[in-house]
Symmetry: C2
Subunit: 146 residues, 2 copies
């Protein structure tokens, strides 16, 4: 386990907690370049009434804007839950250097539904703080069902 990963994933989890507090599915993301966070975001599909407003999408748009480039080869995206095919496709177009995610998503995760959506050069690490990230999701959906 990369010790840097823990610190950045904790920041992504803080974003997921913000989502949860606003009634959004709790997914958070940060993008890191040269050891610094250059973009952070959480899912805002309800607030924006926009099905594309996933944490990863907002973070990618924000980081690309910050760098003035649509390619993010030198960046690492941290996200609390495995990206869906939409987000994996965006990660593919942006050619992210690395993708680090927490909890797996057997129902919507790209690794099942769009395994080749990422750019072949993107390095993937998974399972980082998966328990915390997954617990946020379970608590959210548990509450919604009640």
């Amino acid at each position: 386990m990369n010790p840097m990963d823990i610190g950045f994933m904790q920041q992504a989890i803080q974003e997921a907690q913000l989502a949860s507090a606003s009634g959004e599915v709790p997914v958070g993301a940060v993008i890191v370049a040269a050891g610094r966070i250059i973009a952070r975001s959480h899912n805002q599909t309800e607030l924006l009434k926009d099905p594309t407003a996933h944490a990863e999408m907002l973070a990618i748009t924000s980081a690309a804007n910050y760098l003035g480039s649509k390619y993010l080869n030198e960046c690492t995206l941290y996200v609390t839950v495995e990206p869906c095919p939409m987000c994996a496709g965006a990660i593919g177009w942006a050619q992210l250097g690395s993708l680090v995610y927490g909890a797996s998503d057997d129902k919507r995760g790209y690794s099942i539904f769009a395994p080749s959506a990422l750019h072949p050069k993107t390095v993937v690490r998974s399972g980082v703080m998966a328990e915390e990230a997954g617990h946020l999701m379970q608590a959210f959906f548990g509450k919604r069902r009640r």
Copy 2:
């Protein structure tokens, strides 16, 4: 062939021509609800320096904003070229009623790389004005290679 499809696809092709004139990969889209265009857009990844700014993504965000709903079950999305996995994922989340596209995309198309990204209820029609849509793409990439 649905005769309505031709008229709306012509509008999407007009959008693709706008993209081409701005040096963007020429893909255009319109979204129709109750027989009216409620959103129109073209690829703007270069202008916005945003890898997520595909024609379909911008149109979905715009239509959802117009309707105040993140679901577009009653809408039809017309797009000149087969959506990529990112856009297909967004079409899936938005639960589009119908997707109509022109030219197929063997290199990036969702039907090869993310065949289950769409919502199962979305009706798909393909090949509508495929020749015109494909010709725009070939002319664009031919010019870029020269």
